[in-house]
């Protein structure tokens, strides 16, 4: 039953579009795709600049507990949220970070792509960094189909920004495709420790 749940956490700074990215992921998996989804977020008095966390649980069955129990995928858009929310990881979970802001990762099973720098340099809009990241997740997250995710992005953004967002998505996807996943350590727990376990 544990395998039925695919659990994603997104962390970043308030204003980076973390919650919107989570909503889009949930819509891709649950409306455009054929899954049950549950999306939650940190809810508090924080505003722009504070820590922001959002979670998406995807399952082929009814979802009981709505929040993340053990993460399959963690997208950290800055260092502070990575430090704060790096817990409850499955050993074969995958960490994806925005290399623009994240300088230290607690595991080598991590994929670092400079989402914000790509947004800034290619599109002159840091605002689309979250869509660049979603493009990468389209490749890295096995439970969300690329076409569904793109549909979900385009359904959410204002009409006049469709081309921009489509290109941002493609840029993220291309960056992720360059990464050889098979070269990553297969567990976030170092081999030596894993043997001890």
């Amino acid at each position: 039953m544990e395998e039925e749940r695919y659990e994603i956490r997104l962390g970043g700074s308030g204003g980076q579009g973390i919650i919107l990215a989570a909503v889009i992921l949930a819509e891709a998996a649950g409306l455009h795709g054929d899954n049950h989804v549950c999306q939650t977020q940190s809810y508090g008095p924080e505003a722009r600049g504070g820590k922001s966390k959002a979670e998406v649980v995807i399952s082929s069955r009814e979802i009981d507990y709505p929040k993340v129990i053990r993460m399959d995928l963690f997208l950290a858009m800055n260092q502070a949220s990575l430090d704060a929310y790096f817990y409850d990881f499955k050993p074969n979970g995958l960490l994806v970070v925005d290399a623009t802001f994240v300088k230290q990762t607690p595991t080598s099973r991590a994929i670092a792509i400079p989402f914000t720098r790509i947004a800034r340099e290619q599109f002159e809009q840091e605002m689309v960094a979250n869509v660049v990241a979603l493009g990468a997740l389209a490749h890295l997250c096995p439970r969300v189909e690329e076409a569904h995710l793109l549909e979900a992005v385009l359904a959410r953004v204002p009409p006049h920004t469709q081309t921009l967002n489509r290109e941002a998505f493609a840029a993220g996807l291309a960056a992720a495709q360059k990464i050889k996943l098979e070269n990553l350590p297969r567990s976030i727990v170092p081999d030596q420790e894993e043997q001890e376990i």
Binding site: M1, E2, E3, V23, A26, E27, G30, L31, D34, N35, H36, V37, C38, Q39, T40, Q41, Y43, G44, P45, E62, I63, D64, Y65, P66, K67, V68, I69, R70, Y87, D88, K90
Partner: protein, 420 residues
Amino acid sequence: MSDKKASRENDNQPQSGVNGVGAPQVAASGTAMRVPAREPARSSQNAVPRRRLLQGNEAMVEGALAAGCRFFAGYPITPASEISELMSVRLPRENGTFIQMEDEIASMGAVIGASLAGVKSLTATSGPGFSLMQENLGFACMAEVPCVVVNVMRGGPSTGMPTSPAQGDVMQARWGTHGDHPIIVLSVATVAECFEITVTAFNFAEKYRVPVILLSDEVVAHTRENIVLPESAQLEVVDRIRPSVPPQWYKPYADNSRGVPPMATMGDGYRHHVTGLVHDQSGYPTERSDEVKTQLKRQMRKISSGFGEIQLTRSFMLEDAQVAVIAYGAVARSAKRAVRMARRQGIKAGLLQLVTLFPFPRKAVDQVLRQCKAVIVPEMNFGQISREVKRVNRTCRVFTVNRIDGQLITPAEIFQEISN
């Protein structure tokens, strides 16, 4: 979610990858609406997509509109604000009325007025606002004005913890206004229920001429889930019965077999008096012993005669259960997972989810207490429903799991108690 809680959760988490050994495949009841379909279903009448990703609060708005609610008066408050926000957009489009009032006292007053004028009415608030509504809520009970009051519970008392979930208003929902009074209290655990039970709340309000309190919590209110909104033709919507006699014969509070008198709309020519004082069948104040007894007993009888339909519960894996969890609201979701975890360990556990909290579903709870060796009541308060369970109990051991720190009780915490 704190690191501390997270590590606790991990400690108790059974290893994944056991392929669901020993987990009986029993279908959960009451999830009929959550059937994923690939193509977004669309209503034939309008362009509102039926397949949606909605927050609990948003689903309540959809439920209220589907039930025929066309009036909302409220004062926005965290974590219920989205209900006001969305109502202010949707109601004008449906030829309804949205008013942001100066406070919750006035909000409740406006809701009563609109309902007396014949319109199904809603307000939504959280603990501090719910406290302010109690006086007028009593008036609605006494004058038998149908209405629905949503309380999205947050940490209390007082302004408490505005952004954190809690279940501390359960007893207030039942007994918050003074005097013995009839009232119905329902609770929701999923986004699908936010829609479905809101429709039920309006139906009960209209059918029994009684305020219905709909208890939600911050977790349910702000969780987004994909649901398929049913077509309006599929929904059972109940409207109040209006008088069929000529206006001069109308007795607004006359008894009948159901104990629910027909309700005239103000302005329709059925002139009648509405008061919070104990009244006779014509609606005028009385202190005559026989009239007082008749009126107040009828108000209680109308609810007790509907117990069979009002007391809603949902059973999960209870058939052969020896240990049961009795839960409601967001905690019922954690409990359901805890039951699944226990089943994988070979423990015969089950869940009784209370949808109706009051009138307390004594019959269903009693049956579980007779069947099981132990019952666990987890809730995000110091133990409000567990006390009701203990009141019904005769022989069973009743354990509680309580959290009042603004965090949702985890499946692992409930599982721990089941294993003990």
